[in-house]
Assembly symmetry: C2
Homo-oligomer: 430 residues x 2
Amino acid sequence: MTEPLRVAIAGLGTVGAGVIRLLDTNGELIARRAGRPIEVVAVTARDRSKDRDVDLSRFKWIDDPTALAVEADADVVLELVGGADGTALALARAALDAKKSFVTANKAMIAHHGFELAQAAESAGVALKFEAAVAGGIPVVKGLREGAAANAIDRVYGVMNGTCNFILSKMESEGGDFSEVLAEAQAKGFAEADPSFDIDGVDAAHKLSILSSIAFGTQPAFDDVAIGGIRDVVAADIAEAAALGYRIRLVGIAEEDGEGLFQRVHPYLVPMAHPLAHVSGSTNAVVAEGNFVGRLFFEGAGAGDGPTASAVVADLIDIARGEFGPPYAMPVTVLAKQPPAPTGERRGRAYVRLTVADKVGVLAEIAAAMRDAGVSIEALMQRGAMADGSVLVAIVTHEGPERCVAQALEKLSASSNLKGAPMWMHILGD
Amino acid sequence: MTEPLRVAIAGLGTVGAGVIRLLDTNGELIARRAGRPIEVVAVTARDRSKDRDVDLSRFKWIDDPTALAVEADADVVLELVGGADGTALALARAALDAKKSFVTANKAMIAHHGFELAQAAESAGVALKFEAAVAGGIPVVKGLREGAAANAIDRVYGVMNGTCNFILSKMESEGGDFSEVLAEAQAKGFAEADPSFDIDGVDAAHKLSILSSIAFGTQPAFDDVAIGGIRDVVAADIAEAAALGYRIRLVGIAEEDGEGLFQRVHPYLVPMAHPLAHVSGSTNAVVAEGNFVGRLFFEGAGAGDGPTASAVVADLIDIARGEFGPPYAMPVTVLAKQPPAPTGERRGRAYVRLTVADKVGVLAEIAAAMRDAGVSIEALMQRGAMADGSVLVAIVTHEGPERCVAQALEKLSASSNLKGAPMWMHILGD
């Protein structure tokens, strides 16, 4: 057997410990598959004394994480520290500078600095891999970069945040508003104490922007993702959606539309016949639609130490095999710079929910605002009054320009009959 | 840009023409992704004059397909002739012998001769790739070989024959017995004039045996697959399954159980909560369960010229990138020879449907046979008499050894009250 692939790990939280446990458990099998053993040679973490349930005495301990790239006798640096900048970024730069391959599960850092790091990796002739940064254990970076590589991708989209999907699934199965279910999820450890990155859509946007670049051959453009979260979804939205034949999912979606690259993370109404409607709990799923392959659907665990370790070690195996190339499927020098697509001219169907006063003339006011903005209504439901006397009106529009819906809502928001901000969700088209 | 990857194609049916069309349509994009252009340089087929809707005049025409490997100035030979032996096999041997990489969509040939061909490819140091041989456009060979490579695979299984799934889905949505729906499918071109390879499970078994080798690191053992088809599924089975919360799918399933490698293709009752239950029409899907990643689910088009061409060209891109290794994930020299697992000791739940005379004492006879064989009954449904006066009895068993069910059915088959062979289907466990 040839020389082992030597790995230095920075960050020994649950994922870091999971990687070591995985290599301990499956090491022999992996050596057969990779053609050579994968060996951890050095580690670093904030707290050396913490009990991690794995034996670290075998590895060289290095106190300063940014020194890992130089001091460890490693072929690959594996970064599991997290955070878009700071230690993780310093380590990434140092590793690539030292011509070490670099593997990470850090979606925030790749979303913000992936382009720069890919430039560094490509000029150093080493690997930069981040399968675990998108959709946990699901090999979707590989699925796009390699599996679907023969296709022009029409659209890539999916459910990429497990916390949001857990909350929405719970609201579906047990009722309850967003805030109640979030509190329960936090109590059980399924959501962070500060859950804003997850529930406001930022985490999903990180992942989406990474997939966009690979799918469309464009420079990463995280700042161009239009981001919305699920804070304002209420039990009545879930119920109305169900009555109409939909489930609500936080969907990240990207497509090239001729005028630019469209990237959006937002709660969508997903038709029950679409596979994404059946993605429940903390599961993730990604759909890629190619011009020859049609629709590919990848589903699996989007988080957790086991699945994340699986994706991280798959990257290590690729490197051990020498089967890696440009991180974004094509060299950074040929990635196109795409402007964001203007969203106003986008067409689609919409779900709008309004909380209004229970008064004569309110429905007429809503209907007039929609008509004046050129929004064609497909269905409208008004249900009985709520505890505070207000009434919910849910509207599904026919397909039309999104700017018309925006215009109608702007007009309505000035009305004294509106008891809260309107909720606007897009309906996922086929 | 570096030298193109030169490809010689044998076989210009719908898939061969699809590959040429794909390279014409997406060629520039593919060159950017692969790092170099992929160019067809020579072709061969049975009939040169046939109109294929693609311009062949650009390519060198070679009459003798087995001469392609030598006469074409190619890096890769792409075989789309089909058939386990004959021309396809002669060409494969000639190509690898000439140290050309070899790509194929030929499941039958890989199931029967993949081991020999992998030996030849590995000793020649060239690629042997067959993504399109399993589940059409879905990158599941890659998903197992690379995406899930960090895991010990517990189980790999899926819906791998589009014709069967089309027929079963149609029976579900529109009623009708197998033979009626098959005739309709044949009339519409969704099933072959001689459909036996598909409906008797042989095609799915070819694919399963290929996946088994990659998943478990075992030598291909197509002959060890226990194969059953869907000929005997009647409308009443679909209805009973639905009433019990299941859908019937032709499932190929493989697992290592300590005593050997278990491989079976058979109609299964799939619980509605399982993603395979929602795989409809000619769609395929494969599930891989790994010891760290958990359950991975891959779904997409299992056949058709576009999806198949997508998988074939993905293989060519891997070769153009130099990102390929042993066809079965590990070198043939380390693939283990696993005996088939003894099926009798397998445990599971079963669905049994009996067609019996509408007479006093028949139910008692059935119940006694089950009891005597040690089969514990979870549910039993008897529905009203059929047109010919016979009665259907459907039974769902508790989990127990399969041999007990076999024993009960053997005893019952001697009974004069039985009006036809019993139908026995397994119930897919979580």
